[in-house]
């Protein structure tokens, strides 16, 4: 938050984000298996999210507390989803 902190090149990040976005859209047109396509577009989405978080949200230059605040809820959501899979998805 100090005035003289070097910050990432916001425009370059934006270019990357747009490229990734187009990759994600074009991936749906690939003649691959459905699961592969879905894996691909979500990998792209995850990379985009990480780019935004690290650069625009300045997570790169934050301390461990902020990192924990960003990561723990995500892990919790993933864990909750996985735990609920047998119950909601594979109904017996």
């Amino acid at each position: 938050m100090t005035a003289d902190r070097a910050h990432p090149n916001y425009v370059a990040i934006w270019v990357w984000l747009v490229i990734l976005m187009l990759t994600g859209v074009l991936a749906t047109l690939l003649p691959l298996e459905k699961s592969a396509v879905i894996g691909l577009i979500f990998a792209v989405a995850a990379v985009k999210a990480v780019l935004v978080a690290l650069n625009y949200m300045h997570l790169k230059s934050e301390n461990w507390l902020i990192y924990a605040l960003a990561i723990v809820p995500v892990l919790l959501v993933v864990a909750m989803t996985l735990v609920l899979f047998p119950d909601i998805v594979y109904r017996h």
Binding site: L76, M80, P86, D87, I88
Partner: protein
């Protein structure tokens, strides 16, 4: 160094600058001046729309006590109906089954969300966190004020739900879908919508409150107040806030979905159109179970503070308690499905959740052992707060142990949904809410209101509460073992419950006694605020920072300078020193040995 920094705020006063820069060296993450104090001290700004954390704490307390009267009235009607089914209840009249369901639902909602949380988090957290860490106010005083007023609005909404056509929500405090999702199943329409709206406001209020608590405790500690010099109550309030913030999200999403089901005719939880009722239960309990620990933590914190002060001894294993608290917080997020063993969820999930559930008893047990060992070789003073604290431990052990019964998946098959559950969670929650809250209220009353409470009346209140509490809830376990279902209106409709009806009558009479005993407190409370003996700054000879401020503390809490902290919070009876306690802000050089 300057004068009157507290009374003339708005612009940072000149005199405080040197102090500031000095402090900045001690601890870079310092918070400056009392920036919240306002010159405009009209009646409205001082007592109603105040941003002072202490006034807001009192507002929470008064709101909670009022709502407790309402919740108590509901339980009076319910218990009377159970003991003497289908008779006219004095002060109410006849209770139909629809009304009874509305009573149970709102009794649960009000007691958990409008009594327990406002007292334990709203009042204790607001009052004590800034005072204990040596801050002049919360990090965001206006947000703090907003939190309270949103809660106030929420309590108006829940009260108004009794007066809409169709009556108040009647789908249980858990609001299981599809019963809660479609009007035709309960006959209650606007009651449930308002009930959900009240929850939304309540969650928004405590979400903002939690953010405020955590930010305050992280960024506004006094110079020298490291994390391992924080009083345990602050640690536990922090843990409670973290658990709340992390667990309430899915339920907020779920509540929006349920409201959409009701208002827009969507089908998230209605199976006919492809919804899944179990999803609601998961979302509800993902929050609902951590909520128990959200309530428990502040109560536990208050008891620990009191134990140290009145046994004149350091808390046994301060650090171990902190580690346990954090592990309880973590574990509480992964035990929710033990409320759902027989709900129809995949039975293979039961054992993992049974194990985490029973594991959570391990850190809790450690805290209980530590509380008991704190008494070892102490010099115990049986003041009113100490009596409540000891009562808390006994009742909490009892409630915790019956939890093992419920946490074991196979035994849960038998006792789930019966009065055994009711007895268990009332023992736990009431030990936290009644004993924990009274521990805190009797202990910090002198600091809050600048006066002492009447001791004989306090002791009588404790004695009667302890007796009637056990007379009420201990037999309830037996009723539950006999198989009496929760939320039934009339036990006489069941042949197998005929033998326990006399117990039901007996429980009702004890519950009446328990309720009446609380009026002793109300009398004492009001009388002491008006005419109690004036309190000194530190009447209990406690070492933590809140007692270094005047009683009651002025706006801004301390005069010119914020205290600097030199040691941990529980330095009682240290060797080689004449005094039997060392306040946290006593400079080592000033020690008189």
């Amino acid at each position: 160094m300057g004068e009157g920094t507290v009374a003339s705020p708005v612009k940072p006063p000149q005199g405080i600058r040197p102090t500031m820069s000095h402090r900045a060296r001690v601890d870079p993450i310092r918070l400056p001046v009392a920036r919240t104090a306002h010159e405009d001290r009209s009646f409205w700004r001082t007592y109603i729309f105040s941003t002072d954390h202490k006034t807001i704490a009192k507002q929470y307390l008064f709101l909670a006590l009022f709502m407790a009267l309402l919740g108590g009235y509901l339980v009076y009607v319910m218990r009377w109906q159970l003991a003497f089914p289908d008779t006219s209840i004095p002060g109410f009249g006849f209770v139909g089954p629809e009304t009874y369901n509305a009573l149970t639902t709102n009794h649960g909602t009000i007691m958990v969300f409008f009594v327990a949380m406002p007292i334990l988090l709203g009042a204790f957290g607001n009052f004590l966190i800034p005072l204990m860490i040596g801050a002049r106010d919360m990090a965001f005083p206006r947000l703090n004020m907003l939190s309270f007023w949103i809660l106030f609005a929420s309590s108006l909404v829940i009260m108004s739900s009794f007066f809409v056509p169709g009556g108040a929500a009647a789908a249980g405090w858990t609001g299981y879908a599809p019963l809660s999702a479609r009007t035709e199943y309960t006959g209650v329409n606007w009651g449930i919508n308002l009930w959900l709206l009240a929850h939304a406001l309540e969650f928004a209020s405590f979400l903002m409150g939690g953010v405020n608590f955590l930010t305050t405790a992280i960024t506004m500690r006094a110079p020298g107040m490291t994390f391992f010099r924080l009083p345990l109550l602050v640690w536990q309030q922090m843990t409670a806030s973290v658990i709340f913030l992390l667990s309430v999200g899915p339920l907020i999403a779920g509540a929006v979905m349920l409201l959409m089901d009701r208002l827009l005719g969507t089908s998230f939880f209605v199976p006919e159109q492809g919804g899944d009722p179990l999803l609601w239960q998961h979302l509800f309990w993902f929050f609902g179970h951590p909520e128990v620990y959200v309530l428990l933590m502040p109560g536990l914190g208050a008891v620990l503070e009191v134990l140290a002060v009145f046994s004149r001894k350091s808390i046994f294993g301060y650090r171990w308690i902190i580690y346990s608290t954090i592990s309880v917080g973590f574990l509480s997020l992964i035990v929710w499905a033990h409320h759902m063993f027989i709900s129809g969820m995949d039975p293979r999930l039961a054992m993992p959740f049974s194990i985490t559930t029973i594991l959570i008893s391990v850190p809790i047990a450690l805290i209980v052992f530590s509380m008991i060992l704190t008494l070892w070789k102490g010099s115990i003073r049986f003041t009113p707060p100490m009596l409540w604290a000891l009562g808390f431990i006994v009742m909490f052990i009892l409630g915790g142990l019956t939890g093992i019964v419920l946490g074991s998946a196979p035994v849960n098959i038998q006792v789930h949904g019966t009065y055994f559950v009711v007895a268990h969670f009332h023992t736990v929650l009431l030990s936290v809410v009644i004993f924990g809250s009274f521990t805190g209220i009797y202990f910090w009353f002198p600091k809050m209101f600048g006066r002492m409470m009447n001791v004989p009346l306090s002791n009588l209140h404790f004695l009667l509460t302890l007796i009637f509490f056990n007379l009420t809830f201990f037999p309830m376990h037996a009723v539950g073992l006999a198989g009496m279902p929760r939320r039934i209106t009339n036990p006489l409709q069941y042949e197998f419950l005929q033998p326990v009806q006399s117990l039901n009558v007996y429980i009702t009479l004890s519950a009446l006694g328990l309720t009446l005993a609380q009026f002793l407190f109300l009398i004492n409370f009001v009388w002491s605020i008006v005419a109690g003996r004036k309190a000194e700054d530190n009447p209990w000879e406690s070492a933590t920072l809140e007692w270094t401020a005047p009683s009651p503390p002025p706006h801004g809490n301390w005069g010119d300078t914020i205290p600097t902290v030199y040691r941990g919070p529980y330095e009682y009876s240290p060797p080689g020193v004449r005094e039997d306690f060392l306040p946290q802000d006593l400079a080592p050089s000033a020690r008189s040995d």
